[in-house]
Amino acid sequence: MIQGGPLHFLAALFAAFSCTGCVDGDLFYVRSAGEDMPVWVRGDTGAGAIVVMVHGGPGGSSLDRTVNPPLQRIEQEFGVAYWDQRAAGNSQGDATPDTMTAEQYAADLDLVVDALSVRYPKRKIFLLGESWGGALTGYYLGDPQHGKKIAGWIDVDGTPDEPGILSASRTWAHDGAAAKVQAGDDVARWQPVVDWYDARPALTLDDLPQHNDYVNQLGGSSRYPDRGSSFDTPGLFLESPFDLLSFLANSDYTTQQLVLTKDPSKSILFRDLSGNLPTVTVPTLLLWGRYDGMCPLPLGQAIFARIGTAPADKSLVILEDAAHKGIIDAPDAVADAVLAFVHAH
């Protein structure tokens, strides 16, 4: 049992303006391997199901997803638990570099699931992973013991086949630029892009910034970049607990520890987390952007083929007007599909 002491009382007394009740919904924390991670539960928690939002990045945030229309629609019918992973978003504490591993992330997620089961007994728990969150949830569900706790897996544009992302994304960008050259579309702009990829049959971590820029230029990140991000919504800063500076510091730290590592062989991008996909048997909904250039569609099709879920319980929905950010590009299609899936299971 964790006990509050006199210091806690003094702090609460001093910061009399601060209060948990000022925040809509139910916010609690989980502590795992030195890190305290927020779980913000909103929506209709009495409806019998809770959808756990597992954000991307690594180093993104789920709290900032509370302002996105698809999640707000899901909240109208079910509970949604927004979890910030270790060293991400509002998480705080002491996430040392040795804890920044896929195994620890999966253990953290398992604690979130168990804490939700204690706090909200008899609710079905669904996982909704976006991008890296899709990779993490897929990896987590590869353990059959974890699968027993979960009623369904929703994956939006993320695969645990991390090495496959780089090669598939490179192919997508190269072929996209080559198609523009072939069509005579601004050849002076796109031919150097083709040449750049031709000179790099396999991408390295040093190539990532340029590669990501090309994918963005080709529309592979978002079909609607003018829709902006969650950060354009003032309510995120004024009415939610989201902490921008903590988010920025955590995001940078996680990127350095998990992605752009000093030792490239330790980057999560070169670690295949998909080995246990055949043992995933929970009902699964894969949502994939037709124009996803970060994690292209063939990777989603591969998950669909590899998981052990019965054919009747798995589906791959292609978001025809979306790239990698399906939640931003196709809000209605995402909300419709998720709600139908949760209702069905």
Binding site: G4, A15, S18, V23, E35, Q92, T96, A115, D243
Partner: protein, 194 residues
């Protein structure tokens, strides 16, 4: 009679003159001390909008234009739904004061920041179950830099001053990093004694 009265007045006057110097000396206020003590009470906002409060004791050395300020403070602020911070610190500052009471100050400090997540905290028990409780707190080192501007009303015979004090401070370690904060404090100083 009149001579006697006049003599008495003269005597009294002489007597008064004779005793005046000591009585004038006794009524004069003692020279002001070379330092002043003040108590600050202020609103403290981490990034302005995350509210809190601070209490500080100021030891101001010097009465002229250039002054040295040594202070100790206790304060707290809250990020609703995020955490509550409790801090204890000390600082040294340089203050420039004008004749009309307006002053400016720059200071550097060190402190201790204890943060508590807001809400229940779940963790695994040794047997693998999940238990809930409250956060006993995270300690962090808290260096700070601040600027201040204010108006001292002591020349108007009010033992008060008002001030505005923006500051930056750091929280270390926070996920092994130095996490920077911006804070603004607005408050009132009550001068103790002269």
């Amino acid at each position: 009679m009149s001579v006697a009265i006049a003599a008495a007045i003269v005597f009294a006057g002489a007597s008064a003159r004779a005793v005046d110097p000591p009585s004038v000396t006794a009524a004069a206020p003692p020279p002001p001390r070379a330092f002043r003590l003040g108590i600050d009470v202020g609103y403290f906002g981490d990034f302005l909008t995350h509210p809190g409060a601070v209490v500080r004791g100021d030891f101001v050395l010097g009465r002229g234009v250039h002054r040295l300020v040594v202070a100790a403070e206790l304060g707290s602020y809250g990020h609703p739904g995020d955490y509550i911070g409790l801090f204890l610190g000390a600082s040294v500052g340089y203050r420039v004061a004008s004749r009309v009471g307006i002053f400016g100050e720059a200071a550097a400090g060190v402190g201790w920041l204890e943060t508590f997540v807001e809400g229940d905290l779940y963790q695994r028990a040794p047997d693998g179950s999940v238990v809930a409780g409250r956060d006993p707190g995270h300690a962090a080192f808290m260096p700070s830099l601040s600027l201040a501007a204010g108006w001292d009303f002591q020349r108007r015979n009010l033992p008060l001053a008002i001030y505005l004090r923006p500051r930056v401070f750091w929280q270390y370690p926070e996920n092994t990093q130095w996490l920077i904060h911006g804070g603004v404090e607005i408050g009132l100083t009550w001068w103790i004694g002269r």
